[in-house]
């Protein structure tokens, strides 16, 4: 350990406490409300999932039909859960990395209120039948101004943090977050403008649509998830990332090439071949940022893997980081025409999307929230059992989900291509896999309920400030020596 002078330790502790206390209200508001949408989105998800193998389930009311609950699920998860949590996590990390306390409390309060209103109005609009019918942008037009106005305040707060940052290096997570805070509003505004407000001609709409939908993943959720992994893994195990150089290559290759990816959703569609081919090439090029991230996290963790038995944050974030590698490699391969020929328009794609949005992004965000909340509240998580009850059902649930739908979707694609199998037979073929998806989804929802219970209990419990960290094992239990291995 570096010998350090007690005065410097005191000063840096003071600085950290100031940063975390200033973040308590604005960041806490975003994180807390994101949980509400996570639960709402889970209920909608289960409804949609069950309807696919039991079509009569709750089909009497128009607002509960598949055509409405499915987009309502997607949008509450994308904008309600992931984006809300992403804003909170992003602001906290940016404030910590710039070493500047968040000052814009009133504007961020307004931003949180507007953001949640946008989501409430949007979800209500979809269920009421006002969906725009544009995938990933189903929130009706009247929800967009709330979201855009809110995000303007978020960007402003981000700019203020970066402008006032303490001198020194800009860490890789800062690059990711600050870039994401620009990319998201730009993507959303452009797509909403060209598809809803001032729609381009019909044939040009799907490219705009998929440019947006794919970039929402890659240039909004991904940067926040990676920023969390690049900050939290080194902080928790106390070891700098293996190669900062690689992390920089990863960031800049994502920044320059990711935006081309979306057109691989249109393989086989009536579009110029160059458009699709360029996108396939860009998708395969994603191996570069992905490999840099995978190598980096693996070698940073090397020798410290036993810490996964202890630290909840680390376990969630490492699960997320590993899933990132998996989903990205799968994505690059799926973008190849030969593979896409089978998987397009099947449940395989749905499984792939959930591997990215859930196993990578959501699990990383869960981990980040487990790290952030005790520091905001200066209070620990109330129960390691609840954290376990969050981790295992979520992890096993998404595994069941992904394996069953990937397999079922593959079979579905092969049968559809054969051309001689009656369509209804193919539908029946997928039923057991859809049932398994509902089982996996129920487990994930159980995990979310445990998470919410944990969160609310933590907010309500006042007596245990400064208690020891809630880890998966008690300190008295044997701690592996590898935890203390030096870098």
């Amino acid at each position: 350990m570096t010998p350090s002078d007690p005065e410097a330790v005191r000063k840096s502790r003071q600085e950290r406490l100031e940063v975390d206390r200033a973040a308590r209200w604005p960041v806490g508001m975003f994180l807390g409300s994101s949980l509400f949408w996570l639960l709402a989105g889970s209920v909608l998800a289960l409804l949609a999932s069950i309807k696919l193998h039991n079509p009569g389930f709750l089909a009497e009311a128009g607002w509960l039909t598949f055509g409405r609950v499915r987009p309502a699920h997607l949008n509450t998860m994308a904008y309600g859960w992931l984006s809300t949590a992403g804003i909170g996590i992003g602001l906290w990390m940016l404030s910590r990395l710039c070493r500047v306390p968040i000052a814009d409390h009133s504007s961020l309060t307004l931003a949180a209120v507007l953001w949640n209103m946008g989501n409430a109005v949007g979800t209500f609009g979809i269920l009421r039948g006002d969906s725009t019918a544009i995938e990933w942008l189903e929130y009706p037009t009247y929800a967009a101004p709330f979201l855009l106005a809110s995000f303007a305040f978020v960007v402003l707060a981000g700019v203020n943090l970066v402008r006032n940052r303490r001198p020194g290096h800009i860490y890789i997570s800062q690059w990711y977050i600050f870039a994401a805070f620009f990319w998201f509003p730009m993507l959303y505004f452009t797509a909403h403008g060209l598809l809803v407000l001032l729609p381009v001609q019909a044939p040009a709409q799907p490219p705009v649509n998929w440019w947006f939908a794919h970039n929402a993943l890659g240039l909004w959720f991904t940067p926040i998830g990676l920023a969390a992994a690049y900050y939290l893994i080194p902080k928790i195990i106390g070891r700098p990332i293996h190669s900062y150089y690689l992390s920089a290559i990863g960031f800049w290759s994502l920044a320059f090439f990711y935006a081309w990816n979306g057109m691989h959703h249109l393989i086989g569609g009536p579009y110029p071949a160059f458009l699709i081919t360029a996108s396939v090439v860009a998708s395969v090029m994603m191996f570069i940022p992905v490999v840099t991230v995978a190598i980096n996290h693996h070698f940073t963790m090397k020798g410290h893997f036993k810490a996964l038995l202890w630290s909840p944050t680390l376990r969630f974030v490492v699960f997320g980081a590993m899933s990132y590698t998996l989903v990205s490699v799968q994505g690059s391969l799926t973008a190849l025409r030969s593979v896409n020929h089978v998987t397009h328009f099947t449940h395989y794609t749905v499984a792939h999307a959930h591997l990215g949005v859930y196993a990578f992004a959501s699990m990383s965000f869960f981990g980040a929230i487990y790290y952030i909340m005790p520091r905001l509240l200066e209070r620990e998580w109330p129960s390691r059992w609840l954290i376990r009850l969050h981790f295992w059902p979520s992890a096993i649930g998404i595994a069941i989900y992904w394996l069953s739908l990937t397999h079922g979707g593959g079979l579905q694609g092969l049968e559809l291509n054969r051309g001689t199998t009656p369509f209804m037979e193919i539908v029946e073929l997928t039923l057991p896999y859809l049932g398994a998806r509902s089982v996996g989804g129920s487990l994930m929802a159980l995990g979310h309920a445990a998470f919410a219970a944990s969160f609310i209990w933590m907010l309500a419990r006042r007596g245990l400030q400064g208690a020891e960290a809630t880890l998966f094992k008690r300190r008295a239990e044997e701690a592996p020596d590898t935890l203390t291995a030096r870098s």
């Binding site: 840096s12 060209l194 902080k235 928790i236 106390g238 700098p240 190669s243």
Partner: protein
């Protein structure tokens, strides 16, 4: 139609231009000159390299 094309063009140039501009700034600012130091920039005297930030892990350290 021309309006929409113009929007796309402007957004394209802004997005690409912003990334290029940021990259150029980072180069000229010396952000890529000392990667070791950059990797250590998240550690402080309170939470130095070698110290896990989960308190119970830290206890084992001593």
């Amino acid at each position: 139609m021309f309006g929409a094309a113009l929007v796309v063009l402007i957004v394209m140039l802004l997005l690409g231009g912003a990334a290029l501009g940021a990259f150029w700034w980072a180069m000229s600012d010396g952000q890529f000159e000392d990667p070791e130091e950059a990797a250590r920039s998240i550690f402080t005297p309170e939470e130095p390299v070698g110290v896990p930030t989960d308190p119970a892990l830290r206890e084992r350290e001593e």
